[in-house]
């Protein structure tokens, strides 16, 4: 397995799309956080409460999640596009080992990038808003939540890439599932509709990032629900990877 991890690390670090998507993730987090914080500062007379300052700093997760998901998609879809997947499977015919290798290397990369991006966004945001009092625990929890959410979104992208095998199709699927459909679900009528919306992908997953609770779920249970969505996609993609001709 260590051989596969080294190989996948070489692959992910040696293409420009990795650098670009990771840079975009950091830029979106810090840039949007700074923008919202500055607007918040400008519109508010007097001190800004700490929880508001923290939330404003990390608003970028919504967009950064998509750039990480894009990298997740590309980690495997670029191999299908070029035909390099055959070379990979000739080298590692045990397909689940190959997928596991990609997952582990990508998750580690995404985790580190997300943590750096979230911490930087919070630092910049707080420097702008200057909240009078700040609990260090709250700040750490917010950074941790944003990091977990972003990383999960990246893994979701990788699973969708494995499932769809086609870069534009997989990125569209990721955008729809993570960004477009969740707010639409909030328009569903009735109690039943409310519950569906609460459990829908990022509606549930975002709770860990902003530390809030919905009618049905808290931060951790919401993140758990999001992980179930991702796990189902990973399992489906693994089954298809095993069954399909390469």
């Amino acid at each position: 397995m260590i051989d596969i991890l080294r190989s996948e690390w070489t692959k992910i670090r040696s293409v420009r799309s990795t650098v670009w998507t990771l840079a975009a993730t950091v830029a979106l987090m810090v840039g949007i956080g700074a923008l919202i914080s500055a607007a918040n500062r400008g519109n508010t007379d007097g001190p800004i409460p700490a929880d508001e300052a923290i939330a404003g700093s990390l608003v970028g997760v919504i967009f950064a999640s998509l750039s990480l998901a894009t990298l997740g998609v590309l980690v495997i879809s670029s191999e299908y596009r070029t035909g390099g997947i055959r070379t990979s499977l000739m080298a590692v015919p045990k397909r689940l080992s190959l997928l596991t290798g990609k997952m582990v290397v990508f998750t580690a990369t995404a985790l580190v990038t997300s943590a750096v991006a979230s911490a930087a966004a919070l630092a910049v945001g707080l420097a702008i808003t200057q909240p009078p009092s700040l609990m260090l625990g709250d700040a750490a929890r917010a950074v941790g939540g944003a990091t977990l959410f972003l990383t999960a979104c990246g893994v979701f992208g990788l699973a969708l890439g494995t499932l769809v095998r086609h870069t534009p199709g997989a990125i569209m699927a990721a955008t729809a599932l993570m960004l477009v459909l969740p707010p639409l679900m909030n328009q569903l009528p009735g109690q039943w509709g409310r519950t569906v919306a609460d459990y829908f992908t990022t509606n549930a997953g975002m709770l860990i990032a902003n530390g809030q609770s919905s009618a049905s779920l808290g931060p951790w249970s919401g993140f758990g629900v999001y992980l179930v969505w991702i796990a189902v996609t990973v399992v489906a993609s693994a089954v298809l990877l095993l069954r399909r001709d390469a």
């Binding site: 051989d3 040696s14 799309s17 001709d245």
Partner: protein, 296 residues
């Protein structure tokens, strides 16, 4: 030990049969040509050997085991399917390094194979800018990484210039001379005539011939004598057993000496009297004419 053994191998895509009940052995120490018209099922068979496509029936073993059960497969088998199937954004060195690492092959070997195929100078360049010839060399470098006993090449000379073709041909002969198994597919008989010792010929996914190159020529078509003359009609009448074409007479039942003696006695002038060797090309056309997917 037989390097590759296919037993009743079949592959169907929906209702289309790509490979049907194909059985053959590929032996070490020689170049085995895998020959057939386009669409005969050569690439499908190679993908099944490498565990990329799952057979619909039958089995294929590499060194006595299914490919997927080889521990470090690249140390046993090197295969070049499509030279352009590489990520264009990666450098040649990193492309090979990732492949090497996956099979626990030391990084130093990457430099060795780059040197071997003549790509040392461009090792750090992005592969996307490579010409087909360079991409082909990179593909060969990848197959040689693990110093494998068994090598598979799918249409390796397609699109190459004469230099590249000669280089690959020489390399394949050298690898076979070292005792390795070389299995190379082509739809060009002339190519195989210059490279292969043994032929496995398929058409429409079925085995047509599994034979040495020599036997293959002998078995499928015989030579004939071509006779041309300004008085061709009279010659034809005299020889009797010939087959009259617009500009020549084709005789299979008589030798050049017999025909020459006969026409000399009759005082008929000849423009040409030649024994035409059966070519590998002709033998191949003859054997595969019923199995072309799209006949013109």
């Amino acid at each position: 030990m037989t390097a590759i053994r296919a037993t009743n191998l079949s592959k169907r895509y929906g209702g289309t049969v790509a490979v049907a009940d194909l059985s053959f052995d590929v032996e070490p120490g020689q170049v085995t040509g895998f020959l057939g018209p386009n669409g005969a099922g050569k690439s499908t068979t190679m993908r099944m050997i490498l565990g990329l496509d799952r057979p619909s029936g039958g089995s294929v073993l590499v060194d006595g085991r299914p490919y997927g059960e080889l521990r470090h497969p690249l140390r046993k088998v090197g295969a070049l399917l499509d030279a352009k199937a590489v990520h264009g954004g990666r450098s040649a060195r990193n492309h090979l390094l990732a492949i090497a690492q996956s099979n626990g092959i030391p990084a130093g070997r990457v430099s060795e194979v780059l040197e071997l195929v003549g790509l040392r100078e461009v090792a750090k360049r992005r592969v996307g800018g490579f010409s087909l010839g360079m991409a082909q060399r990179l593909g060969i470098a990848a197959t040689l990484l693990g110093d494998p006993e068994i090598l598979l090449f799918d249409e390796p000379v397609n699109g190459l210039d004469p230099d590249g073709i000669l280089w690959i041909r020489t390399l394949m002969r050298k690898l076979a001379a070292e005792g390795r198994t070389v299995f190379v597919s082509s739809h060009l008989m002339s190519e195989m005539a210059q490279t292969a010792d043994h032929l496995i010929v398929i058409g429409k996914g079925r085995l047509i011939a599994d034979t040495s190159v020599q036997e293959f020529i002998g078995r499928s078509s015989q030579g004939y004598v071509r006779v041309r003359s300004p008085r061709l009609a009279e010659v034809a009448e005299l020889v009797k057993v010939g087959e009259l074409h617009p500009d020549h007479l084709r005789v299979t039942a008589m030798s050049t000496l017999e025909i020459g003696t006969l026409t000399a006695r009759a005082g008929l002038p000849l423009e040409e009297l030649t024994f035409v060797q059966p070519s590998l090309e002709a033998a191949y056309m003859e054997l595969t004419k019923d199995s072309l997917e799209f006949s013109s």
